[in-house]
């Protein structure tokens, strides 16, 4: 009570008050939990929204996996959830495309962008930099509420009569522009676009806030090269977001015009439903350029925070400094820069000039270099470490494996000549689910397990964490590894069934294996959900610095207080990676410990 009241006073700048006044200042339920401007509460809000959306998107994937493993078979559960879209329990083929679309949209934007970056940038930027809060608490609150509103709209779009958006998560026009082409391009698509527009607003407000906070609110001594790699990753992620999301906003806006106001930015020479449309002169390919100008940086918006979190956890739990700190920063910057000049590799076979294709081959393959550096640096950090296998550490190690395993197939897909034959096949699905989906979600799990004590003041259960990790890890490779072979068999993605083609008749066994592992992985997530919610209320109470880590967030009290530190802000004297430093009593030296006379800065 003493410290709590003190902190409260401090935050309000009147330290003389008697601490009994405290109760008069008690925040109401609304200002504490709902319209909070405290970054720690906003982080939790992002996390819980993302968990809900994640469960939803996972359920959708199980629904369409059932159809792929047992095409045309009746599953009563489908009718229970989807009603008229699964008459007699058989999934409708339009609904199949809708499920695929919404699964992708939610996973990429709502779970891995909003959820990952929103949660951990919010939680860690002020805490690891020694700031009392974000630069603007109010904008931060708005950022969440835009995100939340867009989530609600996306969720709601699944219940409209003509079904949700069904043209794939990339919503290429003309398919997405013409309700006559697919029912999902009616009201469902309108809601999708509105939802995404709001999502972008929320994302921009958040990102601008993150950038300003990192630049301006670092505590005394926290130079740029003393920042934990998490912060570097969040900073570059935010910059990528600010530079690329507006382009998606433009793309979305033009699509809204084409759909509703008769413009022809993306439409030309179309004949549909017995009628020639008036629009001419537009180009569907323009949309793809605009979309992927965001879409590719988006991959790194998803991945970089995961890599940042992993860097921190691997160093802490190996009790070693992260290997090649400066090289890691350079890699983050290089990846961030290159991510803006590679978007064309999604479009090799759109009829784009082959020479332009060559340029994108070159830039894309360059990204493999900083990525390789990161992977090797992680592995070297493990070398001669003293590894404690917390569930967070397991997910971090898992991320390195998925990052490498999914990354190498990128070399195939970036090679335009090879892309010709595997473009839009399951080979691509396998590639991006492993390298981006699995890696990013592992980064998110890693962060949740590691910073749970900071989020909720309690520990998650390790044993359940182990069950969760190992089953998820096996499940992920079980689901996505066989997909490479499905792709090499020439099977296109987004097919409702493969029964029309004799050449795919022998794929049924593999699809069964994939769906089996998918169901297994989904069940494994129930273990996580139980652990998460149980620990939130009844988990073991956390100590102040459970992982013996160096970073500043562990110098704050377990109990959350507005303003983070009860007294003065901590002062930083060293980088965050002095683990197992020779000549030191403990195997960690927090950033707040001054350098001794015989020590040099890292």
């Amino acid at each position: 009570m003493e410290t709590h009241a003190h902190a409260h006073d401090h935050a309000h700048g009147h330290a003389d008050h008697h601490h009994d006044d405290h109760h008069a200042h008690e925040q109401s339920f609304w200002s504490k939990y709902i319209f909070s401007t405290d970054h720690k509460m906003i982080a939790k809000q992002f996390l819980l929204t993302a968990v809900f959306m994640g469960v939803l998107a996972m359920m959708l994937s199980i629904f369409f996996r059932l159809q792929l493993a047992w095409p045309g078979k009746s599953f009563p559960i489908l009718e229970t959830f989807l009603g008229k879209w699964a008459p007699n329990g058989v999934l409708d083929s339009n609904m199949y495309l809708a499920l695929v679309t919404i699964h992708g949209t939610i996973m990429v934007f709502f779970v891995l962008t909003g959820g990952l970056s929103g949660t951990f940038s919010n939680l860690l930027i002020p805490l690891q930099l020694g700031a009392r809060d974000m630069a603007s608490g109010f904008l931060n609150m708005l950022s969440f509420w835009f995100f939340f509103t867009s989530s609600i709209i996306m969720f709601y779009s699944m219940f409209v009569e003509t079904g949700p958006a069904s043209s794939g998560w990339t919503v290429y026009p003309p398919l997405s522009a013409l309700p006559d082409a697919i029912p999902g391009s009616g009201l469902g698509m309108t809601l999708w676009l509105v939802s995404m527009a709001l999502f972008i607003v929320g994302s921009l407000l958040g990102s601008l806030n993150y950038i300003v906070t990192v630049i301006n609110l670092r505590t005394k001594g926290m130079t740029m090269t003393r920042m934990p790699l998490t912060i570097w990753a969040f900073l570059v992620t935010a910059i990528l977001g600010v530079l690329s999301f507006p382009v998606l906003f433009g793309a979305v806006l033009l699509l809204i015009f084409d759909r509703s106001f008769g413009t022809s930015f993306y439409l030309s020479d179309i004949f549909i439903s017995g009628q020639a449309l008036e629009q001419t002169g537009g180009s569907p390919i323009l949309y793809q350029h605009l979309f992927w100008f965001l879409g590719h940086p988006e991959v790194y918006i998803v991945l970089l925070p995961a890599l940042g979190i992993t860097s921190e956890v691997i160093a802490t739990m190996s009790r070693k400094p992260i290997f090649g700190y400066r090289a890691m920063i350079a890699s983050i910057l290089a990846i961030g820069f290159l991510s803006f000049i590679v978007w064309g590799h999604h479009m090799f076979i759109t009829g784009m000039n082959p020479f332009l294709g060559s340029v994108f081959v070159f830039t894309t393959l360059l990204i493999a270099i900083p990525s390789a550096v990161k992977a090797f640096n992680y592995i070297t950090t493990l070398w001669k470490g003293n590894i404690s296998y917390s569930p967070a550490m397991l997910f971090a190690i898992g991320l390195v494996s998925t990052f490498v395993t999914g990354g190498v197939t990128g070399i195939i897909l970036a090679d335009s000549a090879l892309d010709i034959n595997v473009h839009d096949t399951y080979f691509v699905v396998a590639h991006f689910h492993i390298v981006m989906g699995a890696s990013a979600i592992f980064g998110m799990f890693c962060g949740v397990y590691h910073w749970f004590p900071k989020l909720f003041g309690r520990m998650m259960n390790n044993k359940l964490g182990y069950v969760h990790f190992w089953s998820t890890f096996i499940g992920v490779f079980g689901v996505f590894f066989p997909m490479h072979f499905i792709g090499m068999a020439g099977a296109p993605r987004r097919y409702y069934s493969y029964e029309n083609f004799e050449m795919f008749s022998n794929l049924q066994d593999i699809n069964l294996v994939v769906t089996g592992f998918a169901i297994f992985s989904a069940i494994a997530q129930v273990v996580f959900l139980f652990n998460f919610f149980y620990s939130m209320f009844r988990g073991r109470k956390a100590t102040q610095n459970p992982w013996n880590a160096n970073t500043l967030e562990w110098t704050t009290p377990v109990e959350h207080l507005h303003g983070n530190w009860p007294g003065a802000l901590p002062v930083v004297h060293r980088w965050p990676y002095d683990y197992s430093k020779p000549g030191k009593e403990n195997d960690f030296v927090p950033q707040t410990v001054p350098l001794t006379s015989d020590e040099e800065d890292h």
């Binding site: 095409p71 083929s93 004949f271 290997f323 009829g351 090679d415 010709i420 090499m488």
Partner: protein
């Protein structure tokens, strides 16, 4: 039923909650854990790291043995063979990297478990090492880029053959139509406003080049050993003409024409013999999400000798012939729908 499921779920959650609490209390009674991660757990997970590596690599090898039969057969086109060679070269590199890196990763992750009383080695950076693993990937990637781009430039170079088969693939929801340029070697002009039931390809009837154009549905034929020069058009949304056996693919985009060309090298009959499968056919499928029956857009491709091809072409009606437009065989592309 629904209530039963909900009831059982709630009970299960309750039971698990109790169980977890009991476990936690018993741990606390035993004096709790001094460390956040116990030595026992470290030993267990260290072993699991190696176990996983063995499982992972075993699974990988098992899949190669089990699933290699589903992979596409050898390329049936000239450039396709180049692609396959490039594929094998790249695959060799990435499989090597995949196996090596995962082995080292899990080996380290297993070996360097926390041992009470010991300390990790302080090893923050080493410029030489970092240069090595920046430069080696850079060199390997340069080779990959150069080899890849040579192949790409070769594939996308203009048609060199003097007399290629000129053929257009026209996509719409949800079928394909093929059009040959005919004797004059030129396609008739098109305008999407001209589409009618009897002129589904929107040919301009006033253009003389249209009259000898041959239009087919269901299947189209190509002569072996002669370059086929494709043009692609779409009526409504983006489709993608994917001919996996020939390693050929190009999007069909409304409002613009796209191009691709390849030379078939193996006839359908030869491929049937090679695969020992009488029912084998080359197919064209749609590989860009295009709507409800995207999964049913199919056309059979028949590759045969030049003589057989000419014979077949002669039997096809031209656009200008009486009772045009075209001899449309029964629609074999109608997709099987799920039985409701």
């Amino acid at each position: 039923m629904m209530y039963l499921v909900i009831g059982v779920t709630l009970l299960a959650i309750r039971a698990f909650t109790q169980l977890a609490t009991v476990m936690q209390l018993s741990n606390a009674l035993k004096g709790g854990e001094q460390e956040e991660v116990s030595d026992k757990d470290n030993r267990l997970n260290s072993k699991l790291m190696m176990a996983f590596l063995i499982f992972f690599m075993g699974f990988f090898v098992w899949q190669i043995m089990e699933y290699s039969e589903v992979i596409l057969p050898e390329a049936a086109s000239a450039h396709g063979k180049d692609i396959d060679t490039l594929w094998d070269f790249n695959m060799a590199i990435i499989v090597l990297v995949f196996v090596l890196v995962n082995c080292v990763l899990f080996y380290f992750a297993s070996k360097y478990r926390n041992r009470p009383g010991t300390r990790a080695t302080f090893f923050a950076h080493n410029n030489k090492l970092e240069m090595v693993w920046t430069i080696i990937p850079a060199i390997v990637l340069s080779v990959i880029i150069i080899y890849g781009l040579q192949t790409w430039n070769h594939i996308t170079a203009p048609v060199t053959e003097k007399d290629p088969v000129k053929i257009e693939l026209y996509a719409k929801q949800f079928d394909w139509t093929a059009r040959y340029a005919g004797k004059d070697g030129a396609f008739g002009k098109t305008d999407y406003r001209l589409i009618t039931d009897i002129n589904p390809l929107a040919l301009d009837t006033t253009d003389g080049n249209s009259n000898d154009d041959v239009i087919t549905k269901g299947e189209f034929h190509l002569p072996v050993g002669r370059e086929a020069s494709f043009e692609f058009r779409s009526r409504d949304v983006i489709h993608s003409a994917y001919m996996p056996h020939f390693r050929a693919q190009m999007n069909c985009v409304p409002g613009m024409k796209t191009y691709f060309h390849f030379k078939p090298t193996i006839t359908t009959a030869e491929m049937r013999k090679k695969l020992n499968k009488e029912t084998f056919d080359y197919v064209l499928l749609c590989n860009k999400i295009c709507g409800q029956t995207h999964f049913g857009m199919k056309m059979v491709i028949v590759v045969e000798s030049e003589a057989d091809y000419q014979k077949w072409l002669a039997t096809q009606k031209t656009f200008g012939a009486k009772d045009a437009p075209a001899a449309a065989p029964a629609d074999t592309t109608k997709p099987k729908m799920a039985v409701n």
